[in-house]
């Protein structure tokens, strides 16, 4: 790789390269789509190009941000990455760090997920920037992700503030070309200063820091007026656009010649530049995904502006959707013509939702829970898929760690009258489940807490966590013993059950449900994807199978039904079967067996 190489990078790889160039020495994160790849990418850049980088999977985003803030205070440039909802968890340190400021650059990277490709809400992180008074950069493609990744550290040190980089799924996971320098600006950490007026936020010191924070925002606003990353692109016509991030690329796709004020720093706003741009335009239209964040600020300045109809606050913009939205407010484009006259009618095709993998260790638990017909409060992870047909055995999903506390609330409200099972993954349990379990034990809760221990953070691609025995630096690490932890918290009944044995699961769960008070059931079975679990493939003996369809209730993608004579006849797709054998356990006729046993 040389200075002139043109690289094809995802936004995540590119922003990691920018952070590497800026001399980032510490990166911490809890994995979350679409942000998970950034910290591993930073380690790969350091591996390839040199320079010292320490990185860790912290147990949650709050802790990750606190670790990074400590590093920054000690003089090491530091970055923390998370998905949008992670900033809710990290909001506590985030707001006050805006008062304390930094020593070495501190960058908080948050990736939003408009349309909720893999999330439970589509909150707009930009509002946090304004609420906390933290400057925010918004890259539109991988080149900007790299450039802004570097710039963020510079701004952080120059203005003594954490800097937010806001990305979205389309910026994080799209790839585009990057020309990058391979130099790195090192800064040796000199240790943290003993400076309580700056870092001890007791009321007397915090009041002074709050004032300084407002002064600093005024300085950043002055910089926003000067910088070329907020640029006016002159064009044809009297209809101009204010935009930032990926929406800028969509707008340019549709209206290549229109006048545009493109913001790279989307908070605080360059007020004078905006007013200058507005002069000479008949209409100013603000184009943004999700909330009317820029629009409301523009209007609050008394500048006349318009935006897309309210329906466009939902979900993701696409070039076609933007074109149709613009047409609704009287701006025509060729894209709108083409988007509204495609030949193919949308028809009702059988959907192909994501499913638990063949051999997934969660399947048996959910099959058993669906038979027991109790309320199951769920959590965030692959196992949330247990809510879909045909298992339908998970009834809530709110946020990380919530399932345990919701179960506790239900049991208190009904005074134990409604039996509740809470399920939580191993990684999620370490994230926010531990205090939830402690709370329930302490307050004499009565429910069954099931910890699904597949020994990885599966949904986000298989990251290590405190229960896996390894950390992100590839070191061996102490492996959390879930059973001993539960006992230490004061749980009286703690069971360990094998994920692949339906009769043990049923007996164990029934025992726990019959128990007064709180019990913990740890279901052990490794993630088949991450640990590449493969056994003998199973097959259906057509002479024995009665077509009852029991095996199909497992919702295993390796079992395919063929319907005739009013019965459902299963067939095993041998390319998908991992040999977990659950189907054989549910078959009343014993028609399913490993293929090898018949040869």
């Amino acid at each position: 790789m040389s200075d002139t190489d043109r690289l094809l990078l995802s936004g995540n790889e590119a922003v990691a390269l920018g952070a590497w160039q800026a001399g980032c020495r510490l990166a911490s994160a809890y994995p979350g789509t679409p942000s998970s790849e950034i910290v591993p990418a930073l380690l790969r850049w350091a591996d390839k190009l040199g320079g010292h980088v320490y990185a860790e999977w912290s147990v949650n985003e709050k802790i990750a941000l606190e670790v990074a803030s400590g590093a920054s205070m000690a003089g090491a440039r530091a970055m923390v990455t998370m998905k949008h909802v992670g900033l809710n968890v990290a909001a506590d340190p985030f707001f006050t760090l805006a008062y304390t400021g930094v020593e070495a650059g501190l960058v908080v990277l948050v990736a939003d997920d408009p349309h909720m490709h893999s999330s439970q809400n589509e909150q707009d992180t930009r509002i946090y920037a304004r609420h906390a008074g933290v400057p925010m950069l918004e890259p539109a493609d991988s080149q900007e992700a790299c450039d802004f990744g570097r710039l963020a550290f510079e701004l952080s040190e120059r203005f003594d503030t954490p800097v937010l980089i806001r990305m979205t799924t389309r910026v994080s996971h799209s790839q585009s070309t990057v020309r990058a320098m391979v130099g790195r600006q090192e800064r040796e950490p000199g240790g943290a200063p003993l400076n309580p007026q700056k870092y001890t936020m007791i009321p007397a010191y915090a009041r002074a820091r709050h004032r300084l924070q407002l002064d600093r925002l005024a300085e950043v606003t002055a910089w926003a007026e000067e910088t070329t990353i907020n640029r006016i692109e002159t064009g044809e016509g009297k209809v101009g656009f204010l935009t930032a991030g990926i929406a800028y690329e969509y707008l340019r796709e549709i209206l290549p010649q229109a006048p545009v004020l493109k913001l790279g720093l989307s908070y605080p706003l360059p007020v004078e530049k905006l007013r200058r741009f507005r002069e000479g335009l008949d209409r100013l239209i603000v184009i943004e995904e999700l909330e009317p964040f820029l629009y409301e600020q523009v209007r609050a300045l008394g500048v006349e502006a318009e935006r897309l109809p309210d329906a466009y606050r939902l979900g993701e913009l696409t070039p076609a959707r933007l074109a149709v939205g613009l047409r609704e407010i009287g701006v025509e484009s060729e894209t709108a013509e083409e988007a509204t006259c495609t030949e193919e009618p949308t028809e009702d095709l059988p959907p192909r939702p994501p499913v638990l993998c063949p051999g997934c260790p969660h399947r048996g638990v959910f099959y058993t829970l669906s038979k027991l017909k109790t309320l199951v409060t769920g959590d965030i992870g692959c196992y949330t898929l247990g809510t879909l047909e045909p298992l339908r055995a998970l009834h809530t999903c709110l946020c990380m760690g919530a399932g345990l506390s919701q179960a506790h609330g239900v049991s208190k409200a009904t005074e134990g009258g409604q039996k509740v099972v809470a399920v939580i993954g191993d990684s999620t349990f370490t994230h926010t489940g531990i205090p939830a379990l402690l709370n329930a034990v302490y307050n004499r809760g009565s429910f069954v807490a099931v910890i699904l221990n597949n020994r990885t953070t599966a949904m986000t691609g298989g990251q290590e966590h405190p229960g896996t025995g390894r950390n992100l630096m590839g070191q061996e690490a102490p492996s959390l013993d879930f059973a001993r932890l539960a006992e230490a918290l004061g749980v009286e009944l703690v069971l360990k059950l094998p994920a692949e044995d339906l009769s043990s699961l049923e007996a164990g769960l029934k025992q726990a449900l019959a128990q007064e008070g709180l019990s913990v059931v740890i279901v052990e079975g490794p993630c088949v994807l991450q640990y590449r679990v493969r056994g003998d493939v199973f097959g259906v003996d057509g002479e024995i199978c009665a077509g009852c369809g029991m095996c199909l209730r497992l919702g295993c993608p390796a079992l395919v039904a063929e319907e005739h004579d009013d019965r459902q006849w299963p067939r095993v797709d041998e390319t998908l079967c991992t040999g977990c054998g659950l189907c054989a356990q549910v078959c009343p006729k014993k028609a399913l067996a490993p293929v090898s046993s018949r040869r």
């Binding site: 490709h117 585009s176 796709e253 696409t318 495609t342 030949e343 095709l349 939702p353 499913v355 691609g461």
Partner: protein
């Protein structure tokens, strides 16, 4: 010239890998490239699409292809081909493997897999027995390389650029069978009048 290619298939079929090969081929040939897909939920056996946009001069703006503006649709499964068909230009070309993979909604007996897909897709381009051809070469997973071979006959990218992309994209032991599959795809396309 701006060329937009949409790849569609089922999570686990290699949609992203195939689209990477096209992107790197064009990058190597000096084109501007953008590419978009979503990770996460889509990989758990769900529908997956990947957008690839290439420009020999100037730059690509949106990584997403606007509705109805894909020049080519490369589909690795019939139902996913049909699902993505509205993305194709009226005169765009579909390149589709005849393979079917039952979605869970069909496998569990709630829905029927639609009939007549092959005929409908044939009207919009080439339906290829890519998995069957790749299986004959000894590697069913090289089906995507057969489809890329067919696609390559429609694009002004030299065979050498493809070869370089394949060398960068495959581990040594998988390279040759995939390259054979690619060349087979080129032959098939020519035999079908391209």
């Amino acid at each position: 010239m701006l060329v937009s290619v949409l790849f569609a298939g089922v999570g686990g079929q290699g949609v992203v890998t195939a689209s990477d090969l096209l992107a790197h081929c064009a990058l190597g040939a000096g084109w501007d490239v953008k590419k978009a897909e979503t990770h996460g939920m889509a990989q758990r056996g769900g529908s997956v699409v990947s957008h690839v946009r290439l420009a020999d001069r100037g730059s690509v703006r949106s990584p997403l292809i606007p509705e109805g503006q894909a020049d080519y649709l490369v589909a690795m499964e019939l139902l996913e081909g049909l699902r993505a068909l509205s993305m194709l230009k009226p005169d765009g070309k579909a390149i589709v493997d005849v393979r079917t993979i039952m979605p869970i909604t069909v496998a569990s007996g709630q829905r029927q897999y639609p009939e007549g897909l092959e005929e409908r897709l044939r009207e919009r381009g080439l339906v290829i027995e890519a998995t069957a051809e790749a299986t004959r070469l000894g590697e069913p997973r090289a089906a995507n390389s057969v489809l890329l071979g067919v696609l390559s006959c429609f694009l002004p990218l030299a065979e050498e650029a493809w070869r370089q992309a394949f060398e960068g994209g495959f581990k040594p032991k998988a390279l040759e069978v995939n390259w054979q599959a690619f060349l087979l795809g080129r032959t098939l396309a020519v035999a079908r009048g391209k």
